[in-house]
């Protein structure tokens, strides 16, 4: 049952081969058994999950079902879910039981999916290793001495270890794709504006985007069908016709033009990762694709641009955490200003404080033009690189991350080293393009390698087709960690 696709699970539920209550209980038991080792979940709430499953079973009995009705889906702890503890990986929200549902959560609820629990993450989604979580690091199911990536590390580990049927993530600079790569699963960050940000705790609002994480491209298509859609409550949500992201899955790839950015295969890329990615490209040639070298000349600048824009927006977004209306309040303080300063100093972790400091500085008087405005201008140059590239190709491919999963603590004290590991994913967020990662082999220490597929705006259906055809021809996506 743990190896079944969402389509198979849906069919089994509709055929009454298993009930949603039974399926949910199977996963809850597995979480109880394995989560103490992996720390993939911050919160499970069997009472709510099983009540939802019971309701789903009634719906299944009535025949009024959708693709995900009765299926247990884990939610990244960045999504507010009514009556659920929603911490965003932070001490600041250690006691925050959300009074409302994020749009993405209500979409899953309306589809009759089961909220299986809230997954661990880097604090406020700031990190690439899941080590900044206040609730402890997540262990990579392939090797528990290694990180799962981040910030959606709990989700990636939960999917890889079969602690859920599928799950959600969010991606501001690579937070879906990089952990997907490091844990050997599939993940998709849609075009900016496709999934509503309402109720998704804000990090960098002009970059944040929710997306599905699962074991195959086919699963991701079903999840995205549920997650996507216009929402009045998010001012950057895009009003578009409803589409079926699974519609092109079975198309052959004859004539597909794949662009390989030379900057993605330059210095800094691990040879083991390069080897797996090149083998994947060779497989695509066999499937009928042609390959063209392209250039994204401003790739290098995406890191400095990102580390101005994201902290600037974060410092503004996180100013709402002041110990007054919700969240952590310091036990001792002398006056109002001291209450703010103590509550924030104690409620936020080191990385979050670091980014608030960067953001506050670059937005402070006299520096706005040199930093924020300059970064926004270079952001346009980076986006234009992609527009240019997509004149020559249909999708862009390359590595998701320069290396496989590193050891816990390995990049501990040097934030700059950690930031540099986001080199292949960040530009996609800056441009607002859709990007995904699928497993394409194993590198050093038998750790999974991810292939990144970048599409043009709103080309998710094609990307899922491209990923699905590869997954029909290979079996990397169905490998599961045995060490558990």
């Amino acid at each position: 049952m743990f190896e079944s696709s969402l389509k198979q699970l849906g069919a089994a539920l509709r055929a009454k081969k298993i009930s949603s209550v039974e399926l949910t209980q199977l996963y809850l038991d597995r979480i109880a058994q394995l989560n103490p080792r992996l720390n993939a979940y911050i919160t499970v709430n069997p009472e709510i999950s099983l009540a939802q499953a019971k309701a789903a079973d009634m719906r299944l009995a009535g025949g009024n079902t959708e693709a995900l009705t009765g299926i247990p889906v884990a939610q990244k702890d960045i999504f507010c879910a009514k009556d659920w503890l929603t911490t965003c990986g932070s001490r600041m929200l250690h006691n925050f039981v959300s009074p409302y549902d994020a749009h993405v959560i209500s979409q899953f609820n309306n589809a009759g999916a089961i909220n299986l629990g809230k997954t661990n993450m880097d604090e406020f989604a700031m990190g690439s290793s899941n080590e900044t979580s206040h609730y402890g690091p997540v262990k990579n199911p392939w090797d528990q001495a290694r990180v799962p990536g981040g910030s959606s590390g709990g989700t990636a580990a939960a999917v890889a270890a079969r602690l859920c049927a599928a799950a959600t993530g969010t991606d501001t600079g690579g937070s879906i794709r990089q952990p997907a790569a490091l844990c050997g699963i599939s993940g998709l960050k849609p075009t900016y504006g496709v999934c509503s940000r309402y109720g998704m705790i804000a990090f960098a609002s002009s970059l944040d985007q929710a997306g599905p994480m699962g074991r195959s491209a086919e699963d991701l298509a079903l999840l995205l069908n549920t997650m996507a859609g216009f929402d009045e409550r998010d001012s950057t949500s895009l009003r578009r016709d409803k589409e079926d992201y699974a519609r092109d899955l079975d198309k052959p790839l004859n004539g597909l033009r794949i662009g390989l950015p030379k900057e993605f295969f330059a210095e800094g890329l691990g040879s083991d990762v390069a080897q797996s990615v090149e083998a994947a490209i060779a497989e695509y040639r066999k499937l009928g694709a042609t390959v063209v070298e392209i250039s994204l000349p401003n790739t290098r600048l995406s890191i400095p641009v990102y580390y101005v824009l994201a902290p600037a927006e974060a410092s503004s977004n996180l100013s709402r955490f002041d110990g007054v209306r919700y969240g952590y309040r310091a036990p001792e303080y002398s006056d109002l200003a001291d209450m703010y300063e103590q509550s924030r100093a104690q409620g936020f972790g080191e990385e979050v404080k670091r980014r608030i400091m960067i953001g506050t500085y670059v937005l402070s008087h006299g520096y706005y033009d040199a930093y924020y405005l300059q970064a926004q201008k270079i952001r346009r140059l980076i986006a234009q690189d992609f527009t240019e590239a997509f004149r020559q190709c249909d999708v862009i491919m390359g590595p998701t991350s320069p290396s496989t999963a590193f050891k816990l603590g390995e990049k501990g004290d040097d934030p700059v080293q950690m930031y540099l590991s986001d080199i292949y994913t960040i530009a996609v967020n800056l441009a607002g393009l859709p990007g995904m990662s699928i497993p394409c082999g194993f590198g050093a220490n038998d750790m999974p390698v991810g292939l990144q597929i970048i599409g043009n705006y709103f080309d998710e259906a094609r990307m899922l087709n491209v990923a699905h055809q590869y997954q029909l021809a290979t079996d990397w996506h169905s490998r599961a960690p045995q060490a558990l």
């Binding site: 101005v308 404080k353 670091r354 405005l373």
Partner: protein, 109 residues
């Protein structure tokens, strides 16, 4: 007409960060910080600003700043009440409330 942002196209020279700057920024960000924390933050932030400094060499004359890929304009809505009053529910997660009000330390003597 020259757009607002184009009038300031001269790239500003970025000064290196002092510990006094760190203290000032911490105050602006409402983050209490000990002397040791200021020292640590100073060295780490300096490393990050070295990384960011690379941006300054790029000529962006005439480039429009970008904030949304689809160049959408902010949607406006009618000024109408759409949500009911849920004060009790929302205040149930507050650190300290009384008679429907959020309690904070006294501000005015």
């Amino acid at each position: 007409m020259i757009p607002y942002y184009a009038r300031f196209n001269k790239v500003l020279t970025i000064m290196s960060l002092s510990t006094d700057d760190v203290k000032k920024v911490a105050r602006l960000a409402r983050l209490a910080m000990s002397e040791t924390e200021v020292e640590a933050a100073h060295s780490q932030l300096s490393g990050i600003f070295d990384l960011i400094a690379e941006m300054q060499a790029v000529d962006t004359t005439g480039i429009e700043p970008m904030s949304h890929a689809q160049n959408v304009t902010q949607r406006l809505r009618e000024d109408m009440v759409t949500e009911g009053n849920q004060r009790e529910l929302f205040q149930s997660v507050a650190p300290q409330v009384e008679a429907g009000l959020y309690l904070v330390p006294q501000v005015i003597e």
